[in-house]
Amino acid sequence: MNTTLLLVQGLNGLQFGVLLFLVAAGLTLVFGVMDFINLAHGVQYMVGAYLGASLAALTGSFWLGLLLALPAALVFGLVLEFLVFRHLYDRDHLSQVLATFGVILFLNEGVKVVFGAAPMQMPVPELLSGGVPLMDGLLYPTYRLAILAAGLATAALLWFLVERTRAGMLVRAGATNAPMVAALGVDIRRLFMLVFGFGAMLAGFAGVMAAPILSVEPGMGDNLLILAFVVIVIGGIGSVRGAFVAALLVGLVETIGRGLMPDLMRLFMDASSARQTGAALASMLVYIVMAAILAFRPAGLFPARA
């Protein structure tokens, strides 16, 4: 493992981390404000990717596709909120898990019916199709750098909205103590709708951005959802800052682990079993990190509720 490879893995990890953050941010706010477990947040990411890919194909332009996909993802999220989620706020976590599980089944099958079971492609926009020479002999794809930049910019914007605006203050207060905020005369349901729609849009945005480098297919949100849950649990439920730190951590651990583990295992065993054990350990690494962190800080790194 040389420096170049490590740099590439690091960049890939950070880029995966910011995508994870976009999904986890909405998830953690919804959970923090309304105490609502939304397993269907991952399929909102998937729907975003499908919307982006099909709108880009329809208009012939990546940028138009991206631009149209965002409001579409927002509207889609609000429709789901209206049809399903708002009936579940007063129910226990178990009911929420099960009903949103039903949404997953429906939407995973739904995109199969509408778009077919075969993966869809979304081309990289021409403007970002080249590579950037980072050092001698290392040409890193421009599009991946653009994802990293867009993700960080969105994170900064989100930080500004949550930390510096009135709506953000209410959201933060709601995440810490929702009944108190409601008692102060804030319509917490409307606040939640706002957070929810915004979260759906962020997840959709992550989906559109990931579409050109991953294959757009049914079920693509399921594994990401699990990782996003790992992120918010490590970060501290309801904390956007925690989600950001944890998302980068998980992105790096996941990506670098996949690169390093087989090499590391080769120190102990022969090549073929090292590859196998390494791959197995790499996919478990994130969960091992999570278990280790929770063993010492059961409420996560940055608990929102004191």
Partner: protein, 307 residues
């Protein structure tokens, strides 16, 4: 006989026992019933956690997976004797439950859901990367498990009654556990942990024991599932499968282990019927789940009791 805890399961067991002689003797419907009973067994064991201890596990499919993969590992080593296979599957799952439960039980509520999910994913990825056992593609068993070298389990009727017998035994055990002092402590610490502690009951060992027992039963269901399908794949451990199991428990109703049993049978039958009736059956099945959560609060059992 007004207590549905007793007559309902007895009715179901009687129906299952009579099924092979009521024209359901054809191959496919017996296979389907076996599948229903196996998932019923797993759901009943999960009920001990959800209904008894208030522990919502989203990783119970991993327990079934441990049992199923124990069959695979032994089969690969040439061991197919039931007296080895069944205890191995049960022990593997119990051990996995003990190790993961020791950490998971320290948390509660949503953290418990997430941690069990995480451990389930670990098991899923581990089995996916075991290339000697087929990796992602799964492993086809050469034969079903043998009893003293005889291939009794190959006989559908025998297998049917083996599943039924084990299901009845596990149902009775969970029913007994829930009504014992052990179960009362579990429920008391679910309702009010502070009060239970004040009475001198530390919930941790009770919950851990419940988790291990439920895991062991899940492992047993896994051994049966592997034998029923004669094939094992990592998909058995996927978190969606754990979601299915949770749903069976809730669909039936949390009034007792008979709820989980009824829920599992209903789930498997509806799934089977829908998947034959149309190609994209999940388009109907998903909303059906949502509607059940909305309107069927006491589960099917609650509906029967009211009606």
């Amino acid at each position: 006989m007004s207590n549905p805890r007793l007559w309902l399961p007895l009715l179901v067991f009687a129906g299952l026992a009579a099924a092979p002689f009521l024209g359901l003797g054809q191959g496919h419907s017996l296979t389907l019933l076996a599948r229903g009973m196996i998932f019923g067994l797993a759901a009943v064991s999960l009920m001990l956690l959800v209904g008894g201890a208030g522990l919502v596990s989203l990783g119970h499919a991993a327990m079934m997976g441990m049992g199923a993969y124990a069959v695979v590992v032994l089969d690969h080593a040439g061991i197919t004797e039931a007296w080895m296979v069944f205890p191995a599957g049960i022990l593997a799952a119990a051990l996995f439950a003990l190790l993961t439960g020791a950490i998971a039980i320290r948390t509660s509520g949503v953290h418990f859901i997430m941690i069990t999910l995480a451990f389930g994913q670990m098991a899923f990825f581990t089995t996916s990367s075991l290339a000697i056992y087929g990796g992602d593609d799964g492993y086809t068993l050469f034969n079903r498990t043998e009893v003293f070298g005889a291939r009794w389990l190959e006989n559908r009727l025998v297998f049917h009654f083996v599943c039924l017998g084990l299901l009845v035994a596990c149902w009775a055990l969970v029913q007994m556990l829930l009504e014992s002092r052990f179960g009362r402590v579990l429920r008391a610490s679910r309702e009010n942990e502070t009060r239970a502690r004040a009475l001198g009951f530390a919930p941790y060992p009770y919950r851990l024991l419940a988790y291990v027992i439920a895991g062991a039963m899940g492992g047993l269901a896994g051994v049966l599932l592997a034998n029923s399908a004669e094939f094992v794949a990592p998909a058995y451990l996927a978190w969606q499968r754990s979601g299915d199991l949770l749903f069976m428990v809730i669909l039936g109703g949390l009034a007792g282990p008979h709820g989980a049993l009824v829920g599992a049978l209903a789930f498997v039958l509806v799934e089977e019927w829908l998947s034959h009736a149309m190609e994209h059956w999940r388009l109907v099945f998903g909303p059906l789940l949502i509607l059940c959560v909305f309107f069927l609060r006491g589960g099917i059992v609650g509906l029967l009791r009211r009606g």
